[in-house]
């Protein structure tokens, strides 16, 4: 698990933990649990919402650590300005990763689903919660072990990303098609920049 600190944000949002889980066994159940947590009432509902208070991101659609961190940054920034377009800072991350303004679509595409085997788990929290505690909480809900983030390069599904971002028609992408590392670097820069400027996308 990796930790990042953002001292410019208020304490409750200034510590971020990120982990890549591979070979996730319970993604279908996890998805159902997230959905039911949002509607369960009473103490049980509280406890369930706390248990799944993460962004669960399908790792196939992430191009790099910078891509993900850019979405995290813009989500916390929107929260600090009372400008969230979704209910929480965690769902905002999924919203920002998707190129359209459709929230349902963002969660369907970028969130965990029955078919997810590689899942990136993100927690935005206060520095009062120790990294060990956060990691334990992640490992309690996700049935898998944490892998080095660098393994992302074996996971990214470039074809889907090109489709979602409508990049197949771009000349620069066609020209780089025979040189995958170059093509991937170009796509990574385009999607990272798109996430960064989504608030002014128009």
């Amino acid at each position: 698990m990796e930790s990042l600190s953002f001292p410019q944000f208020e304490a409750r949002n200034s510590q971020v933990s990120v982990a890549l889980f591979r070979n996730v066994a319970n993604s279908g159940a996890l998805k159902l649990r997230i959905i039911s947590a949002s509607t369960t009432e009473g103490d049980l509902g509280e406890a369930e919402r706390e248990a799944v208070k993460f962004a669960f991101v399908d790792a196939r659609l992430i191009t790099s650590k910078l891509h993900l961190e850019t979405a995290i940054y813009q989500a916390i920034l929107a929260d600090s300005q009372g400008a969230l377009r979704t209910r929480t800072v965690h769902s905002e991350i999924l919203y920002l990763l998707n190129p359209t303004h459709n929230i349902t679509e963002a969660i369907r595409r970028y969130g965990v689903s029955e078919t997810s085997t590689d899942v990136i788990v993100v927690r935005v929290d206060s520095p009062d919660v120790t990294p060990d505690e956060v990691q334990k909480k992640m490992e309690t809900v996700v049935e898998a072990t944490i892998s080095p983030f660098g393994e992302l390069e074996n996971v990214t599904d470039w074809a889907s990303i090109k489709r979602y971002y409508k990049l197949n028609g771009e000349v620069v992408i066609k020209e780089a098609a025979k040189n995958p590392p170059k093509e991937h670097a170009i796509i990574d820069e385009i999607v990272t920049s798109s996430v960064a400027m989504k608030s002014v996308m128009g």
Binding site: Q8, F9, Y73, T192, M197
Partner: protein
């Protein structure tokens, strides 16, 4: 900007590298120890009406970000976008480690007193040779990059040799400062863009004529069939410019 916002604290933790009429440019990081980025801050104009100022600032930040993304999608070398806080007037972009073209070309003696000199990057002693480039090759890179931008119907609006950088790692030419850019398909707008650069070359670098001729030759090859019309229009724009300066 209120000093209590996240972006105000971000700027406070960054170092000022350039102060323009419209914007202050900082070098900083989003997280301690993170990769450096450039933060371009369009500060409040005290003489402008508050809500008008806020709307204009937002539109400027949005415009610059959209132009950069359009360039990236068209394969034009520009800095990537890293954060946007339009309500505070801040655009965060990739830090280009390298030098401006202005720094790498011989400059007139009277220059460098306008405060527009190189940012403190530790690369101030770098020369063209350190990049493995000849002046002529560099002119070719400039022509190609501007042509790619114009083929994507983006007008830069402020083409100067300080708004172009060469990356240290790859010797790639990178266009920066899209604060005045706009979208246009018109031959006239592209020709004026080139003319602005020609004037900038003439006023910044001695003996600039053969250099600018190399820029145009590479530009012409890259734009292809549109070139004859563009060249003719550039001649007209030059003539208008000359007439205007004769009238005073």
């Amino acid at each position: 900007m209120s000093s209590s916002t996240a972006s105000a604290r971000l700027l406070a933790s960054s170092s000022l590298i350039s102060q323009g009429a419209e914007a202050k440019v900082y070098k900083g990081t989003l997280t301690p120890g993170g990769v450096p980025i450039v933060l371009k801050y369009r500060f409040k104009k005290t003489y402008r009406h508050d809500s008008l100022d806020a709307t204009l600032t937002k539109a400027r930040v949005a415009g610059e970000a959209r132009a950069l993304l359009r360039c990236l999608r068209s394969g034009v070398n520009v800095p990537g976008i890293r954060m946007v806080d339009a309500s505070e007037g801040i655009l965060g972009i990739e830090w280009i480690e390298g030098n401006s073209v202005k720094h790498l070309l011989p400059s007139g003696a009277a220059e460098d007193v306008d405060g527009d000199e190189e940012v403190p990057t530790g690369l101030h002693a770098y020369t063209l040779e350190d990049y493995g480039l000849s002046a002529d090759t560099l002119m070719g890179l400039i022509g190609v990059e501007i042509a790619k931008m114009h083929l994507a119907d983006i007008i830069h609006g402020d083409l100067t040799t300080s708004n172009m950088m060469v990356r240290k790692a790859s010797s790639q030419l990178v266009l920066i400062d899209f604060g005045l850019s706009y979208h246009s398909t018109l031959v006239e707008d592209k020709a004026v863009d080139l003319y602005v650069l020609e004037r900038a070359f003439a006023s910044t670098h001695p003996d600039s004529e053969p250099m600018f001729a190399s820029v145009l030759s590479a530009y012409g090859k890259q734009v292809g069939k549109e070139w004859p019309a563009l060249r003719r229009r550039l001649d007209e724009v030059r003539l208008r410019g000359r007439k205007r300066s004769m009238v005073g």
